[in-house]
């Protein structure tokens, strides 16, 4: 399957995505925050530097907010990666979170990991699991283990049907093989090598309770495949890019955005990731989160907008830019790159 960009789909353009969201009649996110006296969102400090090293991926998942795939060529250069390292050197940001695409396919991935670990930072690799089995990556599990990288791996279902429907035919089997390789390297076994899984819904609905899903995953993956892991994190699908294309194609956009708005949970607002993250694009531009990055909504005017500007300026605090897609992070139990941000099961459709 080609990316939206390669297919020249109108929704490959961020402005078309924002228009489609506005067409649903959803209120402005900022207005809802103001009503609840929660505006404006402000990032006072940075706990996590989330670096998107590019859009190249070995998969073309149906829900991908990056529109990543084998046909994408935008990847971070060595020069930009060195600026990321320099930023870490100058600022005591505790965590480097590396994402993509499949970040491991970028030649700078191992450089970034090695340098950040040498600086004593926690490093997270957002791994699609199947990358562990492709040519040239046979030593990847060992590399990650040797550098004590925390692995956050995507697995939308503990069953084949759901995983393959979202991530492509055969992905479940290859993901299980990837998990076995990580377990064999010591991940998820209580050795201190952290292996967390990500569940996101296979369709136009919100994720269920994180704790209950984790129990199901632990039991089913353990009994059927002998796989162990540390935690399961739930993430809602963001109505942008390829998931928005799915919503538009299936006539679900308005109902899904309505669901997100109806499920707005003020308790999830304090935990939204943009308040403690800074997102770096493959070209060194800066954003409040990976979703804003894909919508090409850079940090607010006045804040340093590139790695160069930030290295020169040094100001990390900033106001956060929002739009209607932000309801995806505040619906129900809340959603972030770290999973649910509020109590589980706050709002689920049941006769209540």
């Amino acid at each position: 399957m080609p990316s939206l960009l390669a297919a020249r789909h109108p929704l490959s353009r961020p402005e078309e995505q924002l228009v489609a969201l506005a067409r649903t009649g959803a209120p402005e996110f900022e207005a809802v925050l103001r009503e609840r006296l929660l505006a404006p969102l402000h990032a006072d400090h940075i706990d996590v530097l989330q670096v998107n090293v590019g859009k190249l991926c070995n998969q073309t998942c149906a829900h991908c907010h990056v529109d990543a795939g084998p046909d994408r060529r935008e990847i971070m250069s060595r020069e930009t990666a060195e600026k990321v390292v320099e930023l870490l050197r100058r600022h005591p940001i505790p965590t480097l979170d590396v994402t993509g695409g499949a970040p491991e396919l970028n030649p700078q991935f191992r450089f970034l990991v090695g340098e950040a670990r040498a600086l004593g930072r926690r490093v997270i690799d957002r791994c699609n699991l199947t990358v562990l089995g492709i040519a040239g990556q046979a030593d990847l599990a060992g590399f990650l283990a040797a550098h004590h990288v925390e692995v956050i791996a995507s697995l939308p279902s503990f069953r084949r049907a759901g995983t393959d429907a979202q991530r492509g035919d055969g992905v479940f089997e290859r993901s299980v093989a990837g998990l076995r390789a990580l377990n064999a390297a010591g991940y998820g076994c209580g050795t201190g090598l952290v292996l967390n899984l990500i569940h996101n819904p296979v369709g136009a609905f919100l994720p269920g309770g994180q704790a209950s899903l984790e129990r199901d995953y632990r039991r089913e993956l353990g009994a059927r495949h002998g796989i162990v892991f540390d935690r399961l994190l739930t993430i809602a699908n963001m109505p942008i890019s390829r998931f928005l294309e799915f919503l538009e194609r299936t006539g679900n956009t308005r109902a899904y955005v309505d669901l997100l708005v109806r499920s707005f949970n003020p308790a999830a607002v304090p935990g939204v990731m943009c308040r403690t993250h800074l997102s770096v694009g493959w070209d060194g531009s800066l954003y409040d989160c990976d979703f804003n990055q894909m919508l090409e909504l850079p940090v607010a005017q006045g804040a340093p907008a590139t790695l160069d500007a930030l290295l020169h300026d040094g100001r990390l605090a900033r106001h956060v830019r929002t739009d209607r897609h932000c309801f995806g992070c505040t619906a129900g139990a809340g959603s972030s790159c770290g999973g649910a941000t509020a109590g589980s099961g706050v709002l689920t459709p049941s006769p209540q």
């Binding site: 503990f158 609905f205 269920g208 209950s212 899903l213 199901d216 049941s350 209540q352």
Partner: protein, 110 residues
Amino acid sequence: MDTYYCPHDLARFADMGKNRPELWAKYMDYYGAVFADGALTEREKALIALAVAHGVQCPYCIDAYSHACLEKGADLDQMTEAVHVANAIRGGSSLVHGVQMRTIAEKLGM
């Protein structure tokens, strides 16, 4: 009222809390406790609820628990199997009453 069943009525279920809110509150407390994670996971309970919804043929419950099953990580294979369980029990219930029929017929017949 054009039809006996209206999809919008599902969202009005809480209207049953009017007039006797204390009874509604007791029911909702119980309801919440029943569906909380326990010896069975929320997904397993949602699948049971989906099967019962088909057994009692409640369109509101089928709507609600089709959504709930998906949210809680069930897939269409599992949901279809749950409906077959409901169907097997409903069919079996009719069949096992046939024993009563046979008892009567055998007592009366020659």
